[in-house]
Amino acid sequence: MSKILIRGAKVLGGEPQDVLIDGETIAEVGTGLSAEGAEVVEAGGKVLLPGLVDLHTHLREPGREDSETVLTGTRAAASGGYTAVFAMANTFPVADTAGVVEQVYRLGREHGYCDVQPIGAVTVGLEGRKLAELGAMHESAAGVTVFSDDGKCVDDAVIMRRALEYVKAFGGVVAQHAQEPRLTEGAQMNEGVVSAELGLGGWPAVAEESIIARDVLLAEHVGSRVHICHLSTAGSVEIVRWAKSRGIDVTAEVTPHHLLLTDELVRSYNPVYKVNPPLRTERDVMALREALADGTIDIVATDHAPHPHEDKDCEWAAAAMGMVGLETALSVVQETMVATGLLDWAGVADRMSVKPAQIGQAAGHGRPVSAGEPANLTLVDTEYRGQVDPAGFASRSRNTPYEGRELPGRVTHTWLRGKATLVDGKLT
């Protein structure tokens, strides 16, 4: 196997060091390492992180290959510095059987850009009525441990309770898309000052918060753990903070877009800003940043949601919800968390690699950058600043809210088990 010497990289933002990769593993970390027999990558002060892990990605295959495939989605992931992504279950057919999750898992391995860990549906067809065969998905080759009806809320309290209880048998976790359905009928954007003016149906914060409150109490009651997808409101932060202080086994994620964008952008009626849960207010954004910094929110997850052009090139109400995020996530986190002094690079590694790998039990990912560990690594030029140009995306879709926006940071290299998937910003 080949050797790669990454020379002069700031590991987790620390002092420059050399990192020697031998085959699939990190062989040595230190200074003045010998380059003998190794291909040298001059890091020149770039920051080296463990490969990023996304607990919330929509790869769309099978069923909506016009917006993304496992191949294009994992190429986008590698571009963004990811070495593992968790693929959500809302495909066509739904990933609610061992067959579908194994197919997605196998495609990820075959393409080799990024490990794909399928998420299984909690209920058959995401319909919220009948538990899917969670055990069969767990025992399949895909080894599913995270279950979610994402896109839909498991709103029936009994079904949610049973799911939380059932996955305890094999250490699984239910990831809840917290959205009380009756409170969000016809919802188009955050309910508040802007929705009142624009005449768009409101998606009130309480529709998220009431489900989170219920589910942390259910998790406590049955002694299970629950993960909250894309937490978006200041009130949700308070509930999760309270739950954690009580010892409830809850984890939560925030998306990059909820750390940066607000519902003021909806005034343009441009559906590129249409997403579920919706963009909230400045106050929510600040609470989410603070919560991510203090650990109340455990991780950043992209909710990468590709959609074809026509589904966004229309009037707001007709447009699909969602934004692509894999290729801009790290830049947005740098802008909102690092540049603001809320997190250092070790903190970013924790929130974008270590913790998501732990929550999803992604073996070999989110590990320390030290000898003997799998060589899943990401090299970031943190000094870079540039405008986001969707034309350069590896994703099949272009529905980014950041087009033309100047953001810091650029992933230049990604290694998956020692194999380069991204070199000098170009996919291999």
């Binding site: 309910e191 003016e197 005449g199």
Partner: protein
């Protein structure tokens, strides 16, 4: 004036007064035996109606025809839209036929804004009502009606509605008429009070330039005009209010309540009225109710808007030289 008319909030006080004054000129045309001006001769306007609204479409059509524009009516029903064509493709198809202006009515809030700002077409866009967002020509015709009735046809020229107290009653939550009126009346200096059951007031209303009250009776004695909004009966199925009768008792305008209005105050309704619900027949048919007048004023307002957006610099009404106006 801007190139499009999307929201009443986009109008400055001077824009709005100019439209009202121009509408007065246009209204004189309606008094002539031949109700027609050559102003928009050779210009093509499409009435692009994705939502049924016979009265608004007819009002625009009458205005367009009185200005000698060529008029194309497009309704979504039975058109390519019902076969899945997008708003963008529909608009581009129409523009390719040489349309100068698009008058659009759409069920989705923001659809006219998208049409005007997405680079899909170059034509001027006039919002004829979008979802629960805006209906700017309705607000203009309402302001026009108020100015005429409260100040006077000639005395009103050049005037705004400073200090006038206007109460808007009904389903504010689902009403583009309420939103447009709040914006425009505020711009024109009026004081607006919205009256509705709390369920029919949007969260976020606290930022609107108006007062909100849940009690109709206390606002009536001090208003110059009361505008009743239509309340759809099906709202009670979504628990916005318990029954039709309870709504009428608490928020409907009947003869007793009308008697509590100041003597000069007028009763307005954008139509269509639900008699027995928000307004009784006694009030609707009284001479204080301007509902029918609002309809004819609507044509003048729409003429004024079309003229100002499309007519360029020529005077709207040429001074009579012949016997036409005798």
């Amino acid at each position: 004036m801007q190139r499009h008319l999307i929201s009443a909030a986009d109008l400055t006080r001077d824009d709005a007064v100019l439209i009202l004054d121009t509408a007065e000129e246009m209204a004189r045309v309606a008094d002539r035996p031949i109700k027609k001006l050559p102003t928009l001769r050779g210009r093509t306007i499409v009435n692009l109606f994705f939502e049924d609204s016979t009265r608004t479409r007819i009002s625009f059509e009458a205005a367009e025809k009185r200005l000698s524009a060529d008029v194309i009516n497009f309704t979504a029903k039975g058109s390519s839209v019902s076969k899945g064509e997008s708003l963008k493709d529909t608009a581009q198809t129409l523009e390719a036929m040489g349309v100068d202006a698009v008058v659009i009515r759409h069920g989705a809030s923001g659809a006219p804004y998208r049409l005007a700002n997405s680079g899909w077409i170059d034509a001027a866009v006039i919002n004829a009502g979008d979802g629960t967002h805006q209906h700017p020509t309705q607000a203009l015709l309402d302001a026009f009606t108020m100015r005429r009735r409260l100040i006077g046809r000639d005395a009103g020229l050049g005037q705004d509605l400073s200090g006038r107290r206007i109460t808007v009653v009904g389903d504010v939550l689902h009403s583009r008429v309420a939103r447009s009126n709040v914006d425009l009346l505020h711009t024109l200096g009026a004081e607006v009070t919205l009256v509705a059951p709390p369920t029919l007031v949007p969260v976020g209303v606290e930022n609107w330039p108006c007062e909100v009250s849940y009690d109709l009776d206390s606002t009536l004695p001090k208003c110059d005009a009361v505008m009743m909004l239509r309340v759809q009966r099906e709202r009670m199925n979504a628990a916005f209010f318990p029954t039709e009768r309870e709504y009428s008792r608490r928020y409907g305008l009947d003869g007793d309540r009308m008697a509590r209005l100041p003597e000069h105050a007028i009763v307005m309704h954008p139509g269509p009225m639900v008699r027995g619900m928000e307004i009784t027949a006694e009030v609707a048919d009284s001479d204080r109710c301007t509902a029918v007048e609002q309809v004819s004023n609507g044509v003048s307002i729409r003429m004024a808007v079309l003229y100002l957006l499309l007519g360029g610099n020529e005077p709207a009404v040429t001074r009579p030289t012949g016997s036409e106006e005798k």
